[in-house]
């Protein structure tokens, strides 16, 4: 579903990604872990077609980036720590806008369904700027799934969320994974990643330093694996 070969990303003189090789099979849930500045967000932005690779090959959902970016975007849902929502529009209007941009069929029914599922049906006519951070992130998840994407990218989705909102996001992530969608999530929360993902990749100094499946990890501690990967 996602294939990345020898990916390099440079910003001027600074090289952020130094030859990343990365592969995700359909239905896999990969947690991309690493310290601040490791290049996780840059990597996800390239997968999302928001940034062009300097070198290397990137395929998402069997389409090549950046040449077939529109086809990739149609099959991609992205949730980041920013909500990507308009504060001066209501929850319903925000979803209407994105449903139009993604050309979602039966959009009214889908909007109602999504609002209901993220628990915001009663606030559908309220302005998003009146929402708490947790509610905004819930709506952001609704925005990301409005077009039923095959691949979902989550960039630090738990940032700034309270316990309820975090639990809600856990449920959405499980729901996405259970449906066979492919998920890549960056996170600093190792416990949550261990709970949700089927594979853990450690990105350090611009390369994938280590990778392990949940099965291979067995009873071992993810934190120990993570620390060893960074030390090595």
């Amino acid at each position: 579903m996602i294939t990345v070969k020898k990916l390099v990303k440079r910003f001027g003189m600074k090289t952020v990604l130094r030859g990343v090789d990365f592969e995700v099979q359909p239905g896999e849930f990969v947690a991309l872990l690493g310290p601040n500045g490791a290049g996780k967000t840059t990597f996800l932005r390239i997968l999302a077609s928001l940034s062009r690779p300097s070198l290397g090959e990137v395929h998402v959902a069997n389409y090549r980036l950046p040449h077939q970016a529109a086809a990739v975007r149609a099959r991609l849902g992205v949730v980041s720590h920013l909500p990507l929502l308009y504060g001066d529009l209501t929850a319903e209007e925000n979803l209407q806008f994105y449903a139009r941009m993604y050309n979602v069929e039966n959009s009214e029914a889908r909007i109602t369904e999504v609002l209901d599922l993220v628990g915001l049906e009663s606030r559908r006519r309220d302005l998003v700027r009146t929402f708490s951070r947790g509610m905004q992130q819930r709506l952001a998840i609704g925005r990301a799934v409005i077009h039923d994407p095959e691949v979902m990218l989550f960039d630090e989705p738990y940032t700034g969320l309270d316990q309820d909102a975090s639990s809600m996001l856990d449920e959405v992530l499980r729901s996405v994974a259970a449906k066979g969608r492919t998920v890549v999530m960056t996170s600093h929360d190792l416990a949550r990643a261990e709970d949700l993902a089927t594979r853990f990749d450690i990105l350090s100094r611009g390369v994938i330093a280590a990778s392990i499946t949940h099965k291979q990890l067995g009873r071992n501690n993810l934190l120990t694996f993570y620390k060893n990967a960074l030390a090595g």
Partner: protein, 238 residues
């Protein structure tokens, strides 16, 4: 919540170019008519500028006619910069620009949507400023030819301004950067618009004093709209 209901089996077909433009325009107008942040800033600024000029230039009627075009376009240009900056800042501040760029549509459609919204805001402000200006300066500005010049000048200004605002918004100094980038590029628009407007206001000859400048405006509008169409994708991508 169940996985069965959260993810449906809907298949997505990409939105058409015109649908995407309409969606962006609808979103911008709906948000602006609710908040009125951009519109009120542009309008108050414009009214203040023409008031200041009115008191600063205590001129006789004949001299007023000769400076009106310049004052008018200085007002529109500065108010327009405020609007362009704000319009793109709204997209950037909450990560919405990424939301737009993630949509599976031709990115030129996003450009045209933003440009049309910016043009609508600018034209609304101009529609309010013109009668006030006419009253203060005792000049009839409601001449079809002059209105055409204002429309063409506004299109040129907004077509370049939207592209450069998209570029400037990605920098930390966006508020300062936009006018620095924009004004050198729109000099042909401003000069042509001032000359053509001045021609109408002073009763100049259409063929020799107005038409050449209208032609420049038309060519500029076409060229810069085409350039923006071709380059917007590269401007907004990292």
């Amino acid at each position: 919540m169940t996985s069965k209901t959260l993810i449906t089996d809907n298949k997505v077909k990409n939105a058409s170019f015109s649908k995407a433009i309409a969606a962006v325009v609808w979103k911008d107008l709906a948000a602006e008519f609710r908040s009125r942040e951009l519109f009120s800033a542009m309008l108050v600024f414009s009214l203040l500028v023409i008031l200041i000029f009115n008191f600063a230039l205590e001129l006789d009627i004949k001299t007023r006619q000769s400076v009106t075009a310049g004052v008018l376009w200085v007002t529109f240009a500065f108010a327009g910069t405020l609007g362009l900056n704000r319009s793109m800042a709204v997209e950037k501040d909450r990560g919405c620009l990424d939301g737009l760029l993630l949509a599976p549509v031709d990115r030129a459609a996003i450009y045209f949507g933003k440009a049309i919204s910016n043009l609508v805001f600018m034209l609304i402000v101009e529609a309010i400023v013109l009668p006030v200006y006419s009253f203060l300066y005792a000049i009839n500005l409601f001449q079809p030819g002059l209105l055409l010049v204002i429309l063409l000048g506004s299109i040129g200004y907004v077509s370049v301004g939207t592209l450069l605002a998209s570029m400037a918004v990605q920098t930390r100094t966006r508020d300062v950067l936009l006018p620095i980038l924009l004004f050198p590029v729109v000099i042909p628009v401003l000069i042509s618009a001032v000359k053509a407007s001045g021609g109408y206001l002073t009763g100049g000859d259409f063929t020799t004093e107005i038409l050449p400048w209208i032609n420049v405006l038309l060519v500029y509008d076409l060229i810069f709209t085409a350039i923006a169409f071709m380059t917007f994708d590269y401007v907004v991508e990292e």
